[in-house]
């Protein structure tokens, strides 16, 4: 029976191909969206988890979170270190980590921060040692792989956050002292140094470029301050205070990420809707395919009855055909979904440092697959209804 179902299918390869490709397309689309959303969410949460609040220059809070925590966007501006440190006097603040950046090496951001930053992300050294002096750096694992820099190597940073060869700080090269183990967080894509290095690079630059003479050397500036509270409620109170009473702004990563996911959610839902529509068409196509098969092969099915097959065996035959189609569509669709994730990942990994893993099927995906199979089985039931009324004698004589 299985063999016959298979043979019947490949005797009409175009019909089977159409049904399978529709299923495949819808499943891969749905799975792609599901994976991107889940993994993106996980990434964002992992990267934001260590901190409750980001304090930076006024501007868009989402931009502040994106730039300071996720290192995607440009910073909103600089704030004075002195002013930022005042926040730390509040007893609700548990930890405070300043970050400062503005340079890159081959598109990888150089982040000036304190060593606590590394411990917050559980980053440990793979080889070498931590930076001790200015102009010493440790590399995130992905950066080390991408740039092929080794311990002891030196490089010159480029001004700004975008890759460019024009404005390099040649006079102050950085030295690699260590490489971090992969963490699965944004650290993998950063070059970490101390705050002073960033300041010194730019002081140096300022003496060259006399346009920015008004810059006061005494006033140390940082890009933002990452804060962890003793109690999550503190974040709410403090952010209100900072936003109202100071020239700085406070952003709560959790809220901002939720907001971002809500924006993206509309897009995800739209794509999901399209996937569902294609899935329905796929189911319909299988249904029509099966009805056509049953009609065209009425005589063969009647013949099988004269061979001693009962009605349920015929229905089984139709079911098997449907199952073949849906399983093929489901498995191929799943793989296509994964492959597109992989392609997508290689793009995002280069641009944003976001990597999407090749996961095994999770529960939600299994639900999609089960749904698909149920739809096709439903189609098979509907298509095989006419088999109950099959008049074998008449069908055979009319041959």
């Amino acid at each position: 029976m299985l063999y016959l179902a298979y043979k019947n299918l490949i005797s009409k390869p175009l019909n089977a191909f159409l049904s399978v490709s529709l299923l495949l397309l819808s499943i891969s689309l749905a799975i792609f969206v599901l994976q991107v959303r889940d993994q993106l969410n996980e990434h964002l949460e992992n990267n934001c988890k260590p901190f409750d609040m980001v304090v930076g220059a006024k501007g868009s809070p989402l931009q502040l979170v994106l730039s300071s925590l996720l290192h995607i966007d440009n910073p909103t501006g600089n704030i004075s270190l002195e002013e930022a440190l005042k926040i730390g006097k509040n007893p609700m603040v548990k930890e405070m980590i300043p970050v400062s950046y503005g340079d890159n090496y081959k598109g990888n951001r150089i982040l000036g921060t304190s060593n606590e930053y590394l411990t917050k992300y559980n980053a440990v050294l793979q080889e070498g040692e931590l930076h001790k002096k200015s102009f010493e750096v440790v590399l995130g694992n992905a950066v080390a792989k991408k740039t092929n820099l080794l311990i002891g190597d030196t490089f010159a940073s480029a001004h700004g956050l975008a890759e460019n060869e024009l404005e390099t700080h040649d006079e102050q090269p950085f030295t690699v002292t260590g490489i971090l183990k992969p963490t699965g967080t944004i650290i993998d894509h950063l070059i970490i140094t101390n705050l002073e290095s960033i300041w010194e690079v730019h002081e140096h630059k300022d003496t060259h470029d006399h346009h920015e003479e008004e810059e006061e050397e005494e006033l140390r500036e940082i890009t933002s301050m990452l804060i962890k509270f003793r109690n999550p409620l503190g974040a709410l109170q403090m952010s209100r205070f900072i936003n109202e009473k100071t020239t700085m702004q406070a952003a709560l990563p959790k809220f901002e990420i939720e907001r971002l996911m809500r924006f993206l959610g509309i897009g995800f839902r739209t794509i999901n809707g399209i996937a569902m529509a294609i899935l329905l068409v796929g189911g319909l196509s299988i249904f029509i395919n099966l009805i056509k098969t049953v009609k065209e092969r009425k005589q063969e099915l009647a013949l099988l009855r004269t061979y001693g097959a009962n009605t349920f065996q015929l229905i089984k035959l139709v079911f098997l055909e449907a199952l073949f189609l849906s399983l093929l569509g489901a498995v191929l669709g799943w793989f296509l979904g994964r492959i597109s994730i992989w392609f997508f990942s290689s793009i995002t990994n280069n641009i944003y440092g976001y990597f999407f893993a090749f996961n095994f099927p999770n529960n939600k995906e299994l639900i999609i697959l089960v749904l698909v199979i149920l739809i096709t089985l439903l189609a098979a039931i509907l298509a095989s209804l006419s088999l109950f009324k099959l008049n074998v004698s008449k069908t055979i004589s009319d041959a």
Partner: protein, 210 residues
């Protein structure tokens, strides 16, 4: 062994034509020819014997099994196991090869895969070297012989042939009849042939005229 008793059949959808059939009483291994012009219900009788149609009145027993006492599923099983049908117009499963058609017939009769039986039959019917051909690639004569093979592969108790010779010339007609008789002998079956073809008459001792 076939026995029928005061069989009647009525088609509901047409002009309520009522068929009454003479009683048949055929001991095992014997052949019978049912003759009659078109439209007297020859095929209907054959389908009644095969359990494809339920009689309106009367009873059919094949090897002491009363067909009207079987459930639908039992009837399907019984048909698969004990009855071999050979149709007027050949019909096969087009997506399968010759050998696969034989295999599925064998499987549905509940028999185990018997290579020897299939090979023997293929040689007997002159279908060697065609096993892996699709059925539509066969010539009409080859299809006719495959149709016979499908009717006898599972060694049924009763072989029912519907106009097996109507489209054949005299030589092929002779061949087909002798093949059918020979296979019926090998299978130890009753051979029931219905036909309007008078050429066949001389080959059979038992006749029923409808």
């Amino acid at each position: 062994m076939i026995r029928t008793d005061s069989l009647q059949f009525t088609y509901r959808d047409t002009e309520n034509h009522n068929f009454r059939f003479p009683d048949i009483n055929l001991p095992s291994k014997e052949d019978i020819l049912i003759l009659g012009p078109s439209g007297v219900g020859k095929t209907t009788l054959l389908h009644l014997l095969a359990g494809l149609l339920p009689p309106k009145e009367g009873s059919i027993s094949i090897s002491n099994t009363y067909l009207n006492k079987l459930t639908r599923k039992q009837l399907d099983d019984f048909r698969g196991r004990h009855i071999g049908l050979i149709f007027q117009r050949t019909c096969f499963i087009k997506s399968l090869t010759l050998l696969e058609n034989l295999t599925i017939r064998e499987r549905l009769s509940g028999k185990k895969n018997d290579r020897y039986r299939k090979e023997e039959l293929i040689i007997h019917l002159g279908l060697s070297d065609l096993q892996d051909k699709r059925v539509y690639q066969l010539s009409e004569g080859q299809q006719q012989r495959l149709s016979i093979a499908l009717g006898v592969i599972h060694k049924p108790k009763v072989i029912l042939a519907d106009e097996p010779t109507s489209n054949l010339d005299d030589t092929n007609c002779e061949k087909v009849i002798s093949l059918l008789k020979k296979e019926a002998q090998i299978c130890k079956s009753n051979l029931v042939i219905i036909t309007h073809d008078q050429r066949v008459k001389s080959h059979f001792d038992n006749h029923i005229i409808l």
